[in-house]
């Protein structure tokens, strides 16, 4: 059961060049909220949401101490063949969700991916 607004957030990313995987997770509990493609291996999806929650907790915990006046918004991890873009998406009336977008590494792909996830904030709070 996924709320249509949350499914729409992920669906909007699947057309990006080099798209591999997108998942939403609760960063407090590590619970997978949704993943695309829906055919993703459940163990791979679980590893994505668990790793995403651990990453967000490490970053937000560090930022809470080092930059108490700021707020963590996104994280980019560059691998030799892929890029991970992590974004905290505000949810009106609830805690933020964490988004992980995995795309191929290639010219301009990261810039388009980052621009796409930074536009998602308002969509994620839509009823």
């Amino acid at each position: 059961m996924t709320h249509p607004a949350l499914r729409a957030v992920l669906a909007g990313l699947t057309g990006l060049e080099g798209f591999r995987l997108a998942c939403l997770a609760d960063p407090v509990t590590g619970t997978l909220v949704d993943v695309l493609p829906a055919s993703a291996d459940p163990r791979r999806a679980a590893a994505a949401s668990a790793g995403l929650a651990d990453l967000v907790q490490a970053v937000t915990g560090t930022a809470a101490r080092l930059s108490p006046g700021g707020e963590a918004q996104d994280v980019v991890v560059t691998l030799t063949d892929a890029c991970y873009v992590v974004r905290l998406l505000p949810v009106e009336g609830g805690d933020p969700l964490a988004l992980l977008l995995v795309v191929d590494r290639g010219p301009a792909v990261l810039a388009f991916a980052l621009r796409a996830v930074r536009r998602l904030d308002l969509d994620a709070t839509a009823p």
């Binding site: 407090v28 163990r43 590893a47 949401s49 907790q57 700021g70 707020e71 805690d95």
Partner: protein, 214 residues
Amino acid sequence: MTADQAASPPAEQLLGLAARRQDGVLADPGRRHEIHLRAGRITHVLVGGVRPGPGPGPDRAAGTAAAALATREAFVDGVRELLDADPGAAARWAPKRRSPLDTAGVRLNVPGVLAEVGRRRAVLERLAGLVTADAPLARRPELPVAAVRITPRQWALLALAEEGVTPRELAGPLGDSVFRTVCRCHELLRLGLLDAPSATAPAPGAALFLASSD
């Protein structure tokens, strides 16, 4: 992570009923725990006769993503609490009993819920030496650093964390599940804002969730 991790007589019953796409209520009459099924999917959960968690409230208007997430969290953790309450006992199945509490739109997949229950048990095992649902906690009187940023919901938990309070006791007033409150307490323990006087182990390493998903 598989549904096998949640294996127990009631979990096996639940999997069988889901596979046969049954309608009805799986109940433990003694404790008034109930899982309501429609076409083999979970539509409602009662723990101790009450719906777990607060459900949609004024800040979680019905139909919003926040309300859907809160309902799902309450039901998944309600199933975990129910299965862990008396894992050796078989539950009673009341076929065709129509749930008066059917929650519009909620149709949770049983194998997926049981897999998540198994994952949560593994996370709780990793946290057991530091914090459990029933471990007493206390707010630390002094900040361990000059300044630290916390979220409004972390602040809400700290405000309620009088000496000796447990995550289970905090969950209701916070409007969160027991599991989520334990995880939240772990965040605040790592930040040094809570104390766990009964802790026997340090906080688990950075990979709390990933280590439990294998």
